[in-house]
Amino acid sequence: MSATVASAPPKAGLLRHIRYVLGENPVTALAFGLFALLVFAAIFGPALVPYDPIAGAGPALQPPSAKHWFGTDSLGRDVFSRVVAATRLDLGMAFAAVAIVFVFGTLAGTAAGFFGGWWDRIIGRIADTLMAFPLFVLAMGIVAAVGNSVESIVIATAIVNFPIYARIARAEANIRRDAGFVEAARLSGFSEGRILLTEVAPNLLPIMMVQVSLTLGYAILNCAGLSFIGLGIRPPTPEWGIMVAEGASTIISGEWWIALFPGLALMLAVFTFNLLGDGLRDIVDPRKRT
């Protein structure tokens, strides 16, 4: 497996491979389509929505209609506008968290795998300790301790994902410790630290990118779960988790649309990233497709 990555195919070959995978696998193509839609909603959504997502736009608790596609909530806000506007925050939090853990987790794991010794022991211990916690409760604890804010949610989500990244990067770096291109760099007199940053870490990127798209889904769920129990996000900010929580108490009284649509949006986003992760894995490393 390491060989596949270490000797990455030439560019034209990769493109052909991507086309092949997409053509062969309509589900992955669908995932790419949905991904484009989500990104579009995140970037342009808040500017395009028909109503102000944080102010009352009409009578409260109206069922879906031509005027309000997803109905209105208990304060008369347009649910469709809120669901669309929330895309930016939800994706933003997940992207930020994953970006942080991608950088720190990969570097830490690479160092552990490449240097071994004390590096390995300390980083391994930290990862082990974090793994031993129930992740969601750890994230709750961090948000509660660091303070009730969007930043805390991002940090907490990054921390609970740290062990996964560190472990994968460690394993991959370990394999490449004495690979040909590393030996070559050593012979040219590069320091070990430089080799790690310029040779080994970039070499892990494809594998880690797959991990990124796989954990994005989980990161979205984690952020939404935290705000569902009332942590982190401040109302009236539109966010899917908090909107499901707001709608939860009205499902029984028949106003199902308040919780259903944000719930579906949440599901769709996570679904997209999960499929995308699988698809990316096929592209980067066909043999790992399971």
Binding site: R125, T129, M131, F133, V137, G141, A145, I229, V244, M267
Partner: protein, 337 residues
């Protein structure tokens, strides 16, 4: 075997120490002042300071930490503010509820996941394979709190098929005599079919909510493992000897493919045990997860500490068991300590 167990436990010790330290620091960093809570609604700042001294909260952190470790070693996990009970007692009475729910969820996820995985592997890259993949991925994409609410609305409120989401038993049944703490088993042991039926009816919805989440990883591993086995020489040989497809799949391929699945189940179990926090909240399930959430929101230190400790210990033990189990099933694996 014993030697391996001891060495493994020794290797887990630093992790446990790390868990203790992180837990302590985290709970101390929580906002909210237990002293203010104990002092009551009309307390003055002075009354709070007195109570703080009584609880030892005015001591420097290292001293508080030593106190905490001493209590831990004596098996004293402290007292919960919200329920007024010793944490150790509550955890031990609530753990079976969580474990029973998680096991049943795992049973559901296992049966669905393995079926999907096998189907997908047998018809690799067909529409069935893609469908299995989409269904499993949909499952893992569902926020459990949302699934739970939806299932209650449809199956309890609209259809009336499921009983009221009132915890482990319907309100008029009383718990079976305590043997294992698992109501399904205890009621059978006591020969009380009525209680068994009630307990089973209560657990179905939360178990499915939880299980849906775990279908995808199990299906994925099963599919991969099946593909590997089906492609291996001995299956080709079996086919070559004219054995029917069905026999090959059931008797040879599946049996061999299940090995990695079993170990995955162990990991999934420990993951679910932590992930059922929100499910327990939605279904009023009296497990340790809902206990921890309530405590955390109320800034109730002791239960949070106790819960996290318990989960850490469970996690270490579970991993140990998986390792040992793996060695029993597959003698080729050599454990390195």
């Amino acid at each position: 075997m014993l030697g391996v167990t001891v060495r493994r436990l020794a290797a887990a010790l630093p992790t446990l120490v790390g868990v203790v330290i992180v837990t302590f620091l985290l709970t101390r960093a929580l906002p909210g002042d237990p002293a203010a809570y104990f002092a009551g609604p009309a307390a003055t700042q002075q009354a709070i300071a007195e109570i703080r001294a009584k609880l030892g909260l005015d001591q420097p952190l290292p001293v508080q930490f030593l106190d905490y470790v001493q209590d831990l070693l004596r098996g004293d996990l402290g007292l919960s503010i919200t329920t007024g009970q010793p944490v150790l007692h509550e955890l031990t009475t609530r753990l079976p509820a969580s474990a029973e729910l998680t096991l049943l969820g795992l049973l559901f996820a296992g049966s669905v996941g393995i079926t999907l995985g096998v189907l997908a592997a047998l018809k690799q890259n067909s529409w069935l394979d893609n469908l299995c993949r989409v269904v499993a991925t949909l499952g893992v994409s569902l926020p459990t709190f949302f699934t739970g609410l939806l299932l209650i609305y449809v199956f309890y409120y609209l259809l009336g098929w499921a009983p009221a989401p009132l915890g482990r038993l319907d309100a008029f049944a009383s718990p079976p005599p305590h043997v294992t703490g698992f109501y399904l088993i205890d009621s059978l042991l006591a020969g009380d079919l009525e209680t068994f039926r009630s307990a089973l009816a209560q657990i179905v919805l939360p178990a499915i909510t939880l299980g849906i989440f775990a279908v995808a990883p199990i299906a994925r591993i099963t599919r991969g493992s099946m593909l590997a086995v089906m492609g291996s020489d001995f299956i080709r040989a079996a086919r070559g000897h004219g054995l029917s497809g069905r026999t090959v799949v059931v008797a040879y391929a599946l049996r061999n493919a299940l090995l990695p699945v079993v170990t995955t189940l162990g990991m999934v179990f420990s993951f679910l045990l932590g992930a059922n926090v929100l499910v327990e909240k939605v279904f009023a399930w009296p497990g340790i997860g809902s206990y921890a959430v309530e405590a955390l929101i109320a800034s109730d230190y002791a239960p949070v500490q106790g819960f996290v400790m318990t989960m850490g210990v469970l996690y270490v033990l579970l991993n140990l068991m998986i390792d040992l189990l793996y060695q029993v099933i597959d003698p080729r694996v050599r454990l390195e300590a």
